[in-house]
């Protein structure tokens, strides 16, 4: 899939990048993390999850990493790792959202201190 589908960054893709910020994860781990960090509002189904992962891998924002041989009785899993480019994109997206939030506060839609 071409790169431009990540511009603007879809919410699911942004959440996936965030979920990988701390550690490498496999598909289910990412799904769990995304559900946690959105307080359950976004639960990625397999279709959305893996097509997003595919787009992100192709854009070199995340990469598949080698995992040790699974322990007996465990299935082999693909793990994903956030690349430097992915981290940078996630940061710029977060900054964009922060700007948006600032505008919302200026317009009295949201109250509180500036982020």
């Amino acid at each position: 899939m071409p790169k431009q589908k990540l511009s603007p960054l879809p919410a699911a893709a942004f959440q996936i990048l965030l979920s990988l910020a701390d550690e490498d994860l496999h598909g289910y781990g990412i799904m769990r993390n995304v559900a946690e960090q959105t307080a359950g509002r976004m639960r990625l189904g397999p279709g959305t999850l893996y097509s997003s992962l595919q787009a992100l891998v192709e854009a070199a924002l995340i990469e598949e990493v080698d995992t040790p041989e699974p322990e007996p009785g465990q299935e082999r899993r693909r793990y994903y790792h956030l690349t430097a480019a992915g981290r940078k994109l996630a940061r710029s997206e977060a900054e964009r959202l922060a700007d948006l939030l600032r505008v919302a506060r200026t317009k009295k839609i949201l109250r509180g201190d500036y982020v």
């Binding site: 603007p8 397999p46 279709g47 201190d113």
Partner: protein, 443 residues
């Protein structure tokens, strides 16, 4: 069980996806089934799966992801591929069919009702000034033109704002009467251009009130609604931008005969620039005289005006600001420990661009006879008024406090501040240095 059904459903996904990810997708289901136990969890799993299937199979993987932002669903396309031609054709046909059915089902009587409602909205705009913030603006893409409706709204709201916010109710009434008289006489009928209309209103408002601080402005770009943020200086972006520009302390140097030179192009907020300002003043501390160049300074924050002025006195001095009644912050925090500036000659260079906070700095030093002003008359923009948006394109500046000026009836609004030594802007620095040299006996 769930896995088998899902494996069947997987056939509905696009082939490319199945090839690459069917193993992982099934694994994900197994994981969820394993970790998420209980009836509700199972129900949720199935709900998620069905949503996912519906999303994914639709148009291959052009599937929009649906998410709820508050109560409003928003869609993100994962693919840029366009839908098939057949689908577009079918969609068009369906839309046309649906739209043709609506008028038939609604019937002729309702249609008349609708058009009349539309006419009312267009013909009698809500001119209630009670809630001007939500008054409908002409449009976002304002071409600079104003129609009759908008002109009336602006006049009504301006009058209402004056009544509500201006310091002198009698003057508010006088201005409102004048504006309505002009409107009644049709003086505004021929003004189609937004900027020209704002200028004309400003002229009439100032004529009737005699107050140069009042103005009405037009902006082709939509103005933010609500009052401007109290302070932009909390923002990390502001601090960063200021630090990248060295807080606009463009030059800090020593000229011949140990005359200090400070070129400052804005009064940045102290919260972001205190250390820069302190360092600059420390660098200049041993100078025998100080030249402060404000020729390119268009203003900024009162906090920096007071911060820098504090260095020049050995005791607290009151700094007049047309923006506010005296507060504790209106006095300089003099003496500044270690500062050797008190008692030394100070020159302030001015130009026609020197404005706002830079004029406040200049005005107070002049009135306190603490500095010699060299250059040209300043801009004459006190910027003391508080901004009130009228709609998306018009706004009004109203002075809400009348701070007592200890030196004169009026401040510098509209007139500017006269220099002590009037020379062309380009000669100001040389003139100031020569005066300083003569005064220091070093010529």
């Amino acid at each position: 069980m769930s896995e088998k059904i899902y494996a069947f459903l997987l056939r509905l996904y696009p082939a490319a996806f199945r090839e690459a990810y069917s193993y992982d997708a099934l694994q994900l289901i197994r994981d969820r089934a394993h970790y998420e136990r209980g009836f509700m969890a199972k129900l949720r799993l199935w709900l998620d799966l069905l949503t996912d299937v519906a999303n994914s199979i639709h148009r291959g993987f052009d599937a929009p992801q649906v998410e709820l932002a508050g109560d409003i669903p928003s869609f993100h396309l994962l693919d840029t591929g366009s839908p098939r031609r057949g689908a577009v054709l079918l969609g068009t046909l369906l839309s046309v069919a649906t739209l043709s059915v609506i008028p038939l089902s609604v019937g002729p009587s309702s249609t008349r009702h609708f058009s009349r409602a539309a006419f009312q909205i267009a013909g009698q705009p809500d001119m209630s000034p009670r809630n001007p913030q939500v008054a409908p603006a002409a449009s976002d893409t304002h071409g600079g033109a104003v129609d009759r409706t908008e002109r009336q709204r602006v006049v009504h709201t301006a009058a209402e704002y004056l009544r509500r916010y201006y310091i002198d109710p009698a003057v508010s009434q006088k201005v409102a009467d004048a504006l309505f008289a002009h409107q009644k006489r049709g003086d505004y009928e021929s003004v189609k251009d937004g900027a020209a209309f704002a200028d004309l209103l400003t002229k009439h408002i100032r004529e009737a009130s005699g107050d140069p601080h009042l103005d009405l402005v037009y902006s082709q770009r939509p103005l933010p609604s609500g009052p401007p943020p109290r302070s932009i200086t909390n923002s990390a972006a502001y601090t960063k931008a200021m630090q990248q520009e060295n807080c606009t302390f463009e030059t800090v140097s020593t000229l011949r005969h140990n005359i200090g030179y400070l070129k400052l192009n804005a009064f940045a907020d102290v919260s972001a620039c205190q250390s820069t300002a302190t360092a600059a003043m420390a660098t200049l501390n041993n100078a025998d005289a100080l030249v402060i160049d404000l020729r390119d300074n268009r203003g900024g924050f009162g906090s920096m005006v007071s911060f820098l002025a504090s260095y020049l006195f050995d005791h607290p001095e009151y700094l007049f600001s047309p923006r506010e009644n005296p507060t504790r912050e209106s006095w300089t925090r003099s003496p500044v420990p270690g500062s050797k500036f008190p008692g030394k000659p100070v020159y302030v260079l001015t130009s026609g661009k020197t404005a706002s906070a830079a004029e406040a700095f200049t005005y107070n030093l002049k009135m306190l006879k603490r500095a010699t002003l060299v250059g040209e008359t300043t801009r004459g923009a006190a910027h003391a008024a508080i901004f009130h948006p009228i709609d998306e394109h018009f706004g009004m500046g109203i002075l809400e406090t009348k701070a007592v000026n200890p030196y004169a009836d009026k401040d510098w609004e509209g007139t500017g501040i006269e220099p002590d030594i009037k020379v062309p802007v380009s000669d100001a620095l040389e003139t100031a240095v020569k005066h300083a040299e003569a005064r220091l006996g070093k010529k």
